[in-house]
């Protein structure tokens, strides 16, 4: 995932306050960020989390020194928003203000993806998403999530173990 020269120019323009240039940056990374957010917070909140993250990114874009790091930088911001949302959701569930949405099995599959994913910790979900769906390397994942490569491997191993247990427990 490289930032082209055009996008680097757009980053500089956005840093100077050009909203249209920022809009083009949003277009370039929207789909990837929504896919990540869907794996971390679920379908219902994913797009709101990405919007919140991108507003925060616009707010802090002057702090991005290297335009080539736009994607990992924006991914990390959105990922943090997703983590915040999962914490709030846990709190609201604990307070009884929100009922966890019942996961509906995918009609096309025996596996209920979200049911399995929601049993993992948010960081494990993000690492698994970037490994399986985006096919990113450990260093790319670590860069985007702010984790050391060793920590990426540990999260993935724990996620795999948890999935294997859950899949093995299925009738």
């Amino acid at each position: 995932m490289h930032v082209t020269d055009g996008l680097a120019d757009d980053v500089r323009r956005a840093q100077a306050g050009d909203d249209e240039a920022f809009g083009r940056l949003v277009e370039s990374c929207w789909a990837d960020l929504v896919r990540l957010a869907r794996s971390v917070v679920g379908e219902a909140e994913a797009e709101d989390a990405v919007q919140d993250g991108l507003i925060a990114a616009w707010d802090g874009i002057r702090q991005l020194r290297d335009p080539a790091r736009l994607r990992p930088w924006a991914t990390r911001i959105v990922f943090r928003r997703c983590l915040r949302r999962t914490r709030w959701r846990r709190l609201r569930v604990a307070l009884g203000a929100l009922r966890e949405p019942a996961s509906r099995p995918d009609p096309e599959s025996e596996l209920s993806l979200w049911q399995l994913l929601s049993g993992l910790a948010p960081r494990q979900r993000a690492v698994l998403h970037m490994t399986v769906v985006e096919e990113m390397s450990d260093s790319e994942i670590g860069d985007a999530l702010g984790l050391a490569p060793g920590s990426v491997r540990a999260h993935r191993r724990r996620a795999r173990e948890a999935l294997a247990r859950r899949l093995g427990a299925k009738p």
Binding site: R38, Q51, D106, V132
Partner: protein, 118 residues
Amino acid sequence: MSDEHDEKLDRFDEEYRRWGRRPASIPVGAATTRIRARIVAHRRVRRAATGLAWAAAVAVAVVGSWLVDTRRGAAPTPSPRVGHEAVALPDNVVLWWLDPETPVYFVIRPAEPGQGGR
């Protein structure tokens, strides 16, 4: 881990890849428009907040200086130095008041011939 488990994990990966790669439900153009609209609103809120913060700072400064002035006005006046001030001092004596009760007299002695200067 058994072959059955591996097979299940492989199937999970396949399903997950398919599930995870679905397009976003909001098209990118609509999402960009929404985000830009939110940025405009966010900018207005931030400007208003900055204006309010400045107004609050000015108000605090004005009220603070008014309070200080009021307290100074209400403070007890130092005891009059009547009597001391009435005394006429010679030309070579300087009187400083360290506080209302403590006068300090400096007596300037005239230079004697042959001392000081060149």
